[in-house]
Symmetry: C2
Subunit: 333 residues, 2 copies
């Protein structure tokens, strides 16, 4: 593969997390399913926001978090996602560029506001997400920068993007450009509800070879193959996809290719504070390693270290430089 | 005293905390004094923001935090402070009203942006604050709502307001209205640098009887009387002010009036995570008790419980309802 400018181009919904602590009653009163992610419209977003108390706002989004993790490892990530021409969008761009992510998608000039996910944290630490996509839905193939795609070792997309026709087209376009340049294309299944919504399309992407590298956790993989047996799902995905990175929570992670299967235990974490971002940051570590020709086992190990770091504090992005952290943990970058 | 509509009207700079994790080098490179609070102008605010990586944004401000704490205890607080007509300002208003604080100060229609404090958190957990006051400096006597002042058991102001002539006038006006209605007036010294800037004016406010109740920590009180001896400062303030609430960190708190002195030990805290907001939340508890005719010792005890709660997590505002927390700790509200 030719030299690359970016380790990964991460394509995803540009979403700011707006979170608030609520009591259990709040979820019951609002008929919300704890731990779920649902998409909401403007009216519902305003209604819910008016019911929320004190909020904390921090840039997020699954692929955005992965890009942030890559930068924190000292890698060279790019991000493709649509913010609006408003303060939330400005902050999103600031945060991306401030941590060293290449981000050149033009902001939307329209009446849609920047996307945000209203995250309700219950006393048990669970997070219930209510996502208003806003400007993020307006990502189009025109936003795909050919030079960035073809300069990226891998083009990585979150499954959540599949909720919008235009964003889906943007990914298909980017995948085509990537393959033309001999680059890799990767998809994260995002969550099991997302898999339920787009099962046949995701399978088609994988089976047609549009996707070279799949990221999933065990729930998502089982949902993809509609089986309760993880072993059966693993056997199926080994047939369907060149390479799969599978996260297993406290059981660590696996890399599954046609030739080999590696299993790496989870890294030791003193106190699990907040699971948000674990999968996103696993992808950061795995992609960092892949773009540097690490062995699959090292890619998994680095992914687990990054995931272990992010679940030790509140929020889905690294607080301190990951490069320093993983080296302290004995991993030579 | 006649019945009151609000337990306290808190007057202060409406400030959003924008915080970012930085390494020690960052402070050295920028010539910043760790742990300090400095005021910065628009140019410096933009310059510094461009150097910051990932940010988290949360409504703050000293008196704003105190109002939030009062609401969280189940009290009825009001807040007076100036935001701009921008997204940060809208969010500030949302957060205040969302937690149950009466907040009717009209937003500024001007070219100034809403105030924000860029807080740099170093790996040792220390916070270095760089505050751009923005719209907060435009608080004027015209913003003082007579009905709210006269319906409040106490009008409470943060010393930081003294940096602006108009805001100062707003406080003097509010104090006059409060006293006309037979209400109490209170001042928090905010920090020892603030005391150094305004020592003679603060002493004049106290000695003239404009301030009935003073909030200070030991550093601030010693700075006020330019002494290294806490005992001497306590003796002096006992002469000068009707009532002083003095916080002593891990040593708890004291209430000092001409007739009595009470000392309450600090509440037990498992892990101190972030000291920000300890003083602000002590004031919430103390003011809550005062407006309900609790004994001075009970006021201190409630203040210490609230302070102990806020230092157990990141951020200067309560996460879960304080009323529930203090009752779990055996305090009968």
């Amino acid at each position: 593969m030719p030299n690359h400018t970016y380790d990964a181009l991460c394509i995803g919904n540009a979403i700011t997390d707006v979170f608030s602590h609520v009591e259990e009653d709040f979820l019951t009163d609002q008929n919300l399913v704890k731990g779920s992610m649902r998409l909401i419209d403007t009216d519902e977003a305003l209604r819910l926001y008016n019911l929320m108390g004190q909020t904390t706002r921090i840039s997020g989004g699954s692929a955005g978090n992965t890009a942030a993790g890559l930068a924190s490892l000292g890698g060279k990530p790019a991000f493709l996602g649509k913010v609006a021409n408003d303060e939330l969008g400005d902050n999103y761009g600031h945060d991306m560029r401030g941590i060293g992510v290449h981000f050149d998608t033009p902001a939307l000039r329209d009446d849609l506001a920047s996307g945000r996910s209203m995250i309700l944290i219950t006393p048990d630490g669970e997070r219930t997400m209510n996502t208003y996509l806003g400007s993020a839905t307006k990502l189009t193939p025109f936003d795909v920068n050919k030079e960035v795609v073809q300069g990226s070792y891998v083009t990585y997309m979150e499954g959540y993007l599949w909720d919008e026709e235009l964003a889906k087209n943007a990914f298909v376009e980017a995948a085509k450009l990537a393959h033309e340049a001999g680059r890799l294309v990767s998809l994260s299944l995002s969550d099991s509800f997302c898999v339920d919504r787009f099962r046949s399309e995701f399978l088609e992407l994988i089976r047609s070879g549009t996707v070279d590298l799949l990221f999933a956790n065990e729930h998502e993989l089982k949902a993809l193959y509609e089986t309760a047996e993880l072993e059966a799902a693993i056997a199926a995905v080994r047939e369907d996809c060149k390479l799969t990175a599978l996260t297993l929570g406290s059981e660590g992670a696996m890399a599954i290719s046609r030739e080999e299967t590696v299993h790496v235990p989870a890294s030791e974490v003193k106190t699990v504070v907040d699971l948000t971002g674990a999968g996103d940051l696993f992808a950061s570590g795995f992609l960092f390693g892949l773009s540097r020709d690490y062995s699959l086992s090292q890619c998994c190990e680095l992914g687990c270290l990054c995931a272990g770091n992010v679940i030790s504090h509140v929020g889905a992005r690294p607080e301190r430089p990951l490069a320093q952290f993983v080296e302290q943990e004995g991993f030579q970058l």
